[in-house]
């Protein structure tokens, strides 16, 4: 399908290409709408890693196109430097083993707290472009 005929897919691909760390999730980092998304956000925040976040809930086509691109059926999905790193299970495992800090290029020493408890006031990049805006 050409980019022109599928603006949602190209917006997603662009967002993945443009943001070194991007999380597709249900809800927002401030208000996750699913426990798996919440846990993944908490792991990123515990490492103090900046990331862009896209809420997939406003339109079911976002999830559909994302899963087509990534060949991954569930949400959340974390991409680093354009590559799918994993969903909640993998990110949690990698957080615990220290691999996540390595992949994100942050000091593991900053790993402060339990990933299930999101520290407050961690930097979160503004949601990239307006995937939602393109749906109107």
């Amino acid at each position: 399908m050409s980019e022109q005929s599928n603006p949602i897919r190209s917006a997603i691909a662009e967002a993945i290409a443009d943001n070194p760390t991007i999380l597709f999730m249900k809800g927002t980092p401030e208000q996750p709408a699913c426990g798996f998304s919440a846990r993944t956000v908490a792991a990123l925040q515990a490492l103090g890693a900046p990331f862009a976040a896209v809420d997939i809930l406003p339109d079911p086509r976002i999830r559909q196109e994302l899963s087509e691109i990534s060949n991954w059926p569930t949400i959340p999905q974390l991409f680093v430097k354009g590559e799918l790193v994993g969903g909640c299970d993998i990110i949690t495992e990698m957080y615990e083993s220290g691999e996540l800090a390595e992949v994100l290029g942050v000091e593991e020493a900053t790993k402060a707290s339990d990933p299930n408890v999101a520290p407050e006031g961690q930097p979160v990049q503004a949601a990239p472009l307006g995937i939602e805006n393109r749906l109107r």
Partner: protein, 75 residues
């Protein structure tokens, strides 16, 4: 609605020789947690290991199976 035993049987049928342990995470019949040990995972990264298991269920993941939490291991 699939049971943990159904999910275990399907994983083990699709990946011959694999051993799967599956539990119903929430008791609601749609959130499952599985540990899968399979030789087929050898040489694959975690993403591709999980994909092998997810592929057994196709579009059921996110549908009738709302969540399938995975832990994969090479024997």
């Amino acid at each position: 609605m699939p049971s943990p035993d159904d999910i275990k049987a399907r994983i083990e049928a699709a990946l011959p020789g694999a051993r799967a342990e599956v539990e119903d995470w929430t008791g609601g019949g749609d959130h499952f947690r599985a540990t899968v040990v399979a030789e087929q995972f050898e040489g694959l990264n975690r993403i591709d290991q999980h994909r092998l298991v997810y592929d057994v269920f196709g579009a059921e993941i996110g549908g009738p199976i709302h969540a399938l939490s995975l832990k994969t291991q090479v024997p």
